[in-house]
Amino acid sequence: MARQTTIEERVPSAATRLIAWLGYAFLLMPSLVVLPMSFGTGTEFDFPPKSFSLDLYREYFSEPSWVASTLTSLQVAAASAALSLLIGGLAAYGIVRYQFRGKKLLTIFLLSPMLVPTIVVALALYLYLGIARATGTTWGLILCHAVVCVPYVIVTMMAGLRQVDRNLEIAATIMGASWFGVLTRVTIPLLRPTILASGLFAFLISFDEVVISFFVSGVRTQTLPVKMYSTIHWEISPVLAAVSSLLTILSLGICILVAALQKER
């Protein structure tokens, strides 16, 4: 050890803590403002709300276009999470478990959607779907979202796989398990928390995604964030407050679930 860690170094000073809390407050502020607003009434945003009601939520659930875009988002998020789990999981398995030429290059390539600015990816996908005549289709949207989700799945799955003791796989093999047997009876069960966590993250990324969806979704495949975005343009409806609150709660729920899964390991 180079030097001793003193008590002062380990406990952050009052100033540091103040800055940290200010940072949190700044980040949390929009949600904290939106949540009370969502219980307001009427046709205007008002903060703080003058009365408490569930009118805005009622409006959200009874308006077919809101419900339709929510269903589209759920469908797309579930499908692209599943697809990116499959692709990302296999890619991570190959990268962690095998040695081959060009491995570094392949890894960077697979992670590149995370490194390139989203708007660039969005434009590229827009042009690409145009050529493939898939603009405005659900499956086109699912593929596009999978492109963004796969890098996150790869990163978390690689970390998870590195945690799996190689000796367990070797032990299973020596006892007679085939490659597939080891995968299904040992590796995947041990990776279960990681698989669930990265699947949930992929779901969340897809559900929140707006830039790419804005480029490639059509009238019949409008996702919830795209619908919210266009609502801001046409009519600033206070229903947005209710939708935003629901989105925040969903994200929070998934994050808590992921944290719980991490603990389980």
Binding site: D165, N167, L168, I170, A171, A172, T173, I174, M175, G176, A177, S178, G181, R185, V186, P189, L190, R192
Partner: protein
């Protein structure tokens, strides 16, 4: 008895580094063979080659008369016990032990019966429903042993299975493994860097050093007739000295000390060869009057209870460790005392391959 394993010039190199030089070995059915050697001597490499989890650079591996060099690990029908237990954390103890049987699609009732029988063999039938992490290290390793023998593999490989356990537990498990080996007539290839473990458990010891087999012999022979300086130094305490060969089986140790009839001495007269004498084979007497002895002076005395270790130094500057049973009537050895040493020709062990194999 039938041959279980045969290694023919098996070799493993990682790039420039040779982990295992060409090695031959034959293990008979029912034998308990131990690979003994310091860390990095190639023991694990050899075990992994037999298990099939590493591919050899050259050579052949035969199991039960079948060339398995190209056979994948999961078709070799072997059992293996690892130092870190390698129990599946997501399965109960019973599921762990059942694993190899489940893979073989045995009927449920048979699996249940065999699992209980294996757990009884390691005295742990009551933990069947627990998860491995709820067990102590010793219990986990017992479960791993039960899992390795439940499907009657033709050969069980054990890589330092007791390395992570404390001394008392280690001795208890040594005894249990040995007992299982005798009762079930298993063939075991065992790896350890602990010489006592190797001496107490094995039918034969393969002493490994820097990727080579230094000597292969039963424990008694390995201890009493080591073939090389490395073997003599690795097992027990030894005195290794250089002596001049005077004739057939005759050596001169000191000015007034010569011996004839040294067994296994093949060097020609005039050569200087290394020989080993165990500390307990040396006789010690006070003074220096006797004929045909080596004169020396006591340097150090270490009283160990039943035995006393002495370090003595000869006129030529050679040091000997001498081990004596402690007697109450002993005058008491003291530093600086002049003494005379002697030993029998039959206790002199010529080294560097001079011993008969």
């Amino acid at each position: 008895m039938a041959e279980m394993v045969r290694l023919d010039g098996i070799t493993k190199a990682y790039g420039e580094t040779v982990a295992l030089h060409p090695t031959d070995l034959s293990i008979r059915e029912g034998e308990f063979v131990t690979l003994l050697g310091p860390s990095g001597s190639g023991k694990t490499t050899l075990l992994n080659l037999i298990a099939g989890s590493t591919a050899p650079s050259a050579g052949e591996i035969w199991l039960k008369g079948r060339d398995v060099t190209q056979v994948p690990a999961n078709r070799r029908e072997l059992g293996m016990v690892f130092q870190n237990y390698a129990l599946f954390p997501h399965m109960t103890v019973a599921q762990n032990v059942a694993f190899p049987l489940t893979l073989r699609r045995r009927p449920r009732a048979e699996i249940r019966r065999e699992v209980m029988r294996a757990l009884e063999l390691v005295h742990l039938p009551h933990v069947a429903k627990r998860k491995p992490r709820e067990l102590s290290g010793g219990q986990q390793q017992r479960i791993a042993i039960a899992r390795s023998l439940v499907y009657n593999p033709s050969l069980i490989l054990m890589d330092e299975p007791l390395g992570a356990l404390d001394r008392k537990l280690r001795e208890a498990l040594q005894f249990e493994i040995k007992k299982l080996h005798e009762e079930l007539r298993m063939t075991v290839l065992y790896v350890t860097h602990d010489q006592e473990e190797a001496l107490t458990m094995s039918n034969r010891i393969c002493l490994m050093n820097e990727g080579r087999m230094e000597q292969v012999a039963p424990p008694q022979e390995m201890y009493f007739r080591p073939a090389t300086e490395f073997a003599a130094g690795f097992l027990g305490v030894s005195n290794i000295i250089r002596v001049a060969v005077e004739g057939r089986g005759a050596i001169r140790v000191g000015e007034r000390f010569a011996l004839s009839g040294v067994p296994g001495l093949t060097a020609a007269p005039g050569e200087v060869v290394p020989v080993m004498i165990r500390p307990e084979a040396i006789r010690l007497a006070a003074g220096s009057a006797a004929e045909n002895v080596l004169e020396a002076e006591v340097e150090d005395v270490v009283f160990l209870g039943g035995v006393t270790n002495l370090v003595v130094r000869t006129g030529q500057g050679e040091r000997f460790t001498v081990r004596q049973l402690t007697r109450r009537s002993d005058a008491g050895w003291q530093g600086g005392m002049p003494v005379s040493l002697s030993f029998d020709a039959s206790d002199v062990v010529p080294l560097n391959g001079a011993a008969p194999q």
